[in-house]
Subunit: 228 residues, 2 copies
């Protein structure tokens, strides 16, 4: 999952960026409203974490700009203030969630997780694909009860594909959601990652498997080749 963090204080920004990365997210960040808006408009994020107090362009304005363009983004608003009117304003402006500073990191993580789930229409922290289980909260996966030993990137990839099971996801989409910032234009990171993941989760004709749709991308599904 790829996040955008728009936060004024550079100390806070760095700290959060690190914590979020450790939790397995791809994170881009911006220090002011203008840069943040530009990033949000030109990339594909699952969740935007947006401070209200920002230089150049305040958080609520950024939010309004984004909503005006009809971007389907999930925005978590951070604020120091905590009056009912503030919350109502924030939510009315189109925020999906709202968190008051100071907050516990754990709560931020839980809320981000909830927003990610919502982004893909799931309600549960555990995703199942055939006999594969992916616990997005515990960041662990298993096959037929046996735990799988996945690296952070492998897990992120599996999670992303599981959230979109039955749907073909292109390399570009995968790259956009799993990896932060730009990388060399011609890279086969995704191929390699899929290859490694396949080796670990195994799977054959009938059992859940990552299928290659030549020319389109990959698809994770438990069903037979036919209709999902």
């Amino acid at each position: 999952m790829r996040l955008l963090l728009i936060e004024d204080s550079s100390r806070m920004r760095r700290g959060l960026e690190g914590s979020l990365r450790k939790s397995g997210y791809a994170v881009d960040s911006a220090g002011d409203g203008e840069e943040g808006l530009w990033l949000a408009e030109t990339n594909d994020y699952d969740v935007v974490i947006l401070d209200i107090m920002l230089p150049k362009l305040d958080g609520v304005s950024v939010l309004q700009q984004l909503r005006k363009k009809g971007r389907d983004l999930h925005v978590l608003l951070l604020t120091a203030k905590d009056t009912v009117q503030d919350r109502v304003n924030g939510l009315r402006a189109g925020a999906d969630d709202y968190l008051v500073k100071p907050f516990a990191l754990e709560e931020l993580l839980a809320r981000i997780e909830a927003l990610c789930r919502r982004a893909y229409g799931r309600k549960d922290a555990v995703i199942t694909v055939g006999d594969l289980t992916i616990d997005t909260a515990a960041k662990s996966a298993g096959r037929s009860g046996k735990p799988l030993d996945l690296t952070p990137h492998e897990f992120a990839l599996l999670e992303y594909m599981a959230r979109r099971q039955g749907v073909v996801v292109s390399r570009t989409e995968i790259e956009a959601h799993i990896y932060d910032d730009a990388r060399s234009p011609i890279s086969n990171v995704v191929d390699a990652a899929v290859c490694n993941l396949r080796k670990k989760i195994g799977g054959t004709a009938v059992t859940p498997l990552i299928r290659t749709r030549r020319g389109f991308g990959y698809m994770l599904t438990a069903g037979r080749p036919g209709q999902p």
Copy 2:
């Protein structure tokens, strides 16, 4: 919009019910977890407002039961407690939102509104033409339930024609939509592609078929040979 309110205190319940009705919602209510769960399972609500402290079956359990059954519901959790752990638990259990008592009515309304807005996002990914099904998400097509093995170009062509079923599409249009780069002026790529596609999807007089309109182009339709 139809809401379900599950709340212990009858005074609170009556009060909220009235306020919500005044705001234009249809409201059902329950006084304990069991009744609430039963109502939620047997009716179709847009949003469920769920208190955590409930007789017979507590709120989080109700939520878990609902999620286990895979109901696609939006749940707003109400609670008197406000510790980080509570919030984390609630969100992890699958709540879409969370509100701490006491709250302002206006804030509750704003949050319900936000949840209702979220009902979007489900667009139909499957196109049907006679007994042909085209799943644009899985990039797969089938005829009478049997999967077809199509190449990317074939699939793109079929999808394009299916989206315009019953309409004659010219070679030029097809070429413009399916092939991005310009190619030699006299090329029969489209002819060849249509030919290959026909071989794969089969079809005879009555069943869906790609028909040739001499001098104009092709048409995909499930109807009879007669004039469309």
